[in-house]
């Protein structure tokens, strides 16, 4: 995606279900809530003035809980549901104003759709299902067979051409659904909870495969899901919906770091931290002394802080070693510099070490373990109590809990099985 071309532009799309859409729209514009409108007009607001752009080649996820209007919204994009108000531009053309035959042409050549419950034709074989979109365009038999077989190959269903959908597992059925949508080679792919009916392991596989496919195809994908996990995994950008409204649009990172919605907040809170917490999350500020200072300064510092040893760094904060109080006292008497008395054999770990991996080290060390970066610069120290506390699930010892959770959530999504 070198240049961001707007492929699809949704402008203030509203869908009212019920008898009095005009009045309901009027009320919406005046800022009435969904509940008020239902009370006053008897109409339900399905989608409330949704507006977003989707760039060519991106996966745009629309996420929301059931009843949030996400499925209605995606259906307005190919007008399976006619929006009550608003515009939808595909390559600059407003499809809400199109006549039947123009719309049919758009559906045939520009947009295809994958459904939650697969919606395969049970009386047709896998191949015939995949061919359907081309068949109704009147494309010749051998040509459409060729395209269909190519699409089936893409989704890994070679050899299943002559099976019937009910002979396949759920995951395979949805592959057929995907192949059917790919066979017509449209630019835009609408995926309505496409993986929600699959069990979690298969779902993850399908997500990975979709991402892989997307690498080579560069389709514009609008993906609907109620699963934040899924949204964060596959979305280039995510739109969060609630009560028919889009409440936030952003990249997965933005959504996690700055959750504007309770649901996201709750999700971020629920992430299992113990698997992802690192030294960096629990380290405390380290008290250090610069190596060119004398032992007297070091001793003074230790006395003031009430500690028995202190880490020594150079001007660049590179960790050189530690100084123990008794040694420093002797050095003062003997008139030695800090250089001569540094104990270089200190325990150090990098700040991205997992807490579970450094538990042994921390529990046996005589002085707090040092956390360093890849250039050996001292970042902080690991106090035994804090490490154990964090591992035990005591969040108070974690530095920036929100940050940690967000990172944890993000890494869980990327790694998957860490």
């Amino acid at each position: 995606m070198s240049e961001k071309n707007i492929k699809l532009s949704v402008k203030n799309v509203t869908k009212i279900f019920g008898k009095n859409p005009k009045k309901a729209i009027q009320l919406l514009k005046e800022g009435s809530s969904k509940g008020e409108i239902l009370k006053k007009t008897g109409s339900t607001v399905g989608v409330n003035q949704a507006a977003f752009d989707v760039y060519a080649g991106e996966i745009f996820v629309i996420m929301g809980l059931s009843g949030s209007g996400k499925s209605t919204l995606v259906r307005t994009i190919n007008r399976l549901i006619d929006p009550t108000a608003g515009e939808i531009l595909i390559d600059g053309k407003d499809i809400t104003k199109m006549k039947k035959d123009e719309l049919r042409d758009i559906r045939r050549k520009k947009i295809s759709m994958v459904f939650q419950k697969f919606a395969l034709f049970p009386h047709r074989t896998v191949l015939e299902n995949t061919e359907y979109g081309l068949e109704i365009q009147g494309i010749q038999k051998d040509k459409r067979k060729e395209s269909a077989i190519k699409a089936l190959k893409l989704v890994g269903l070679e050899g299943y051409e002559n099976q019937y959908p009910n002979q396949l597992s759920g995951g395979m059925q949805q592959r057929v659904g995907l192949a059917r949508a790919l066979a017509t080679d449209t630019d835009i792919l609408l995926m309505d909870e496409a993986f929600s009916a699959l069990d979690p392991l298969i779902r993850k596989d399908m997500q990975d495969e979709l991402l892989e496919l997307q690498n080579s195809m560069e389709k514009t994908i609008i993906f609907i899901t109620h699963d934040l996990d899924e949204a964060l995994r596959i979305g280039d950008r995510i739109a969060l919906m609630k009560d028919g409204e889009i409440v936030q649009i952003g990249t997965p990172e933005e959504i996690l770091m700055n959750p504007s919605n309770q649901y996201v907040e709750r999700f971020v809170e629920d992430v299992d931290l113990s698997k992802v917490l690192t030294a960096g999350h629990v380290m405390k500020r380290a008290e250090t002394v610069q190596v060119d200072k004398g032992p007297r300064v070091a001793l003074q510092l230790m006395k003031k802080l009430g500690i028995s040893s202190i880490y020594v760094v150079d001007k660049k904060q590179t960790l050189l070693g530690a100084i123990h109080a008794e040694v420093a006292k002797e050095a003062v008497e003997a008139g030695k510099g800090l250089h001569d008395i540094i104990d270089p054999n200190v325990q150090k770990v990098t700040s991205d070490t997992l807490l579970t991996d450094l538990f042994d080290q921390v529990s046996t060390a005589s002085i707090p373990v040092a956390a360093v970066d890849e250039n050996s610069r001292l970042l902080g120290i690991l106090v035994r109590g804090a490490v154990i506390g964090a591992l035990a699930g005591n969040n108070e010892t974690i530095n920036d809990i929100d940050q940690a959770r967000a990172e944890a959530a993000a890494s869980q999504l990327k790694g998957g099985n860490q």
Binding site: R75, N78, L80, L103, R104, D105, I106, R107, R108, I111, S112, M113, F115, Q116, K117, A119, L120, F121, P122, H123, Y132, G133, E135, I136, Q137, Y164, N166, Q167, R180, T184, L190
Partner: protein, 282 residues
């Protein structure tokens, strides 16, 4: 007996209406009458040319192919019994009557059902008409049928069609409406025309239900054969009717038994047509 509101002259209106129909559409009714008569008699003569044993073997094979071995056996034994009792000729006439009535029911019923399934207004008009057709006692429209088509097999066929067509229409509508909404959405999302959606998706998926409707139509048409015989339709019904009027209990039972055999054979054979076509369950 005179009430405050004078009795509505409904009977007079109907009489006038039927008179008007008879006069105005005389030519059309004659055409239909001649056409139907030719068809039914054609079937009877055609079937009559086939020696009974070949006919029995053929029907047995059809039963085996479409249903099961047991039904095939029943078909063969049942038909042999009919031949043995001496009802072969009337049985063929009844078969011709039923098959033409069903044929017409399908020709009329399936398109009407499809139309009604696509158009709400049509459905709202068709449904009460069907109720009317099914609940109005058959004798009532048998009489005007004589006016229109004379006595004989034709008014019998017409009365049978009126009685038998509703299930085909109803179940065609039902079958099409039963196709899951997401499958319809899928066909729409690929840009199907209404015709493509119907022919490629809705009708094939509705087929088992439509076949169940046709099966019901066959059964209803069969149940009309005795009533049809009252307006002069030949066949097993006429034998039953004659036996009843002459109080010949044994004869009546024989003819009735033949009707039962035909009914079971036709039912079992047609029951499985739609079901077997689709690979497994949905």
């Amino acid at each position: 007996m005179e009430g405050i509101i004078p009795k509505l002259p409904v009977s007079k209106w109907v009489d006038l209406f039927v008179d008007w129909l008879t006069v105005t559409f005389a030519a059309a009714f004659d055409g239909v009458s001649n056409g139907l008569e030719t068809i039914v008699e054609g079937i009877v003569t055609g079937l009559g040319y086939i020696p009974f044993y070949i006919f029995i073997i053929l029907l047995g094979l059809v039963a085996w192919k479409l249903s099961s071995k047991g039904i095939a056996l029943f078909t063969v034994i049942g038909l042999l019994l009919i031949e043995n009792l001496g009802y072969w000729e009337p049985m063929l006439e009844t078969l011709a009557l039923v098959l033409s009535a069903v044929f017409l029911s399908v020709i009329i019923g399936v398109p009407v059902g499809i139309w009604a399934s696509q158009n709400r207004t049509v459905k709202q008009i068709v449904t009460p008409v069907l109720d009317f057709m099914q609940t109005m006692p058959a004798f009532v429209y048998l009489i005007p049928a004589i006016f229109f088509f004379n006595i004989g097999i034709v008014p019998g066929v017409v009365a049978s069609v009126i009685f038998a067509v509703p299930p085909t229409i109803r179940l065609t509508i039902l079958g099409i409406h039963q196709v899951p909404a997401d499958i319809i959405e899928a066909t729409e999302s690929f840009g199907s025309t209404t015709g493509q959606r119907l022919i490629k998706v809705q009708l094939p998926l509705a087929m088992p239900t439509i076949m169940a409707g046709i099966n019901q139509s066959i059964m209803l048409a069969l149940s009309m054969v005795v009533i049809a015989s009252m307006v002069g339709a030949p066949g097993l019904g006429a034998d039953v009717y004659r036996a009843v009027t002459q109080i010949q209990i044994g004869k009546g039972f024989e003819a009735g038994l033949a009707i039962v055999v035909i009914a079971i054979v036709l039912d079992r054979i047609t029951q499985n047509i739609g079901v077997k076509k689709q690979g497994g369950n949905m």
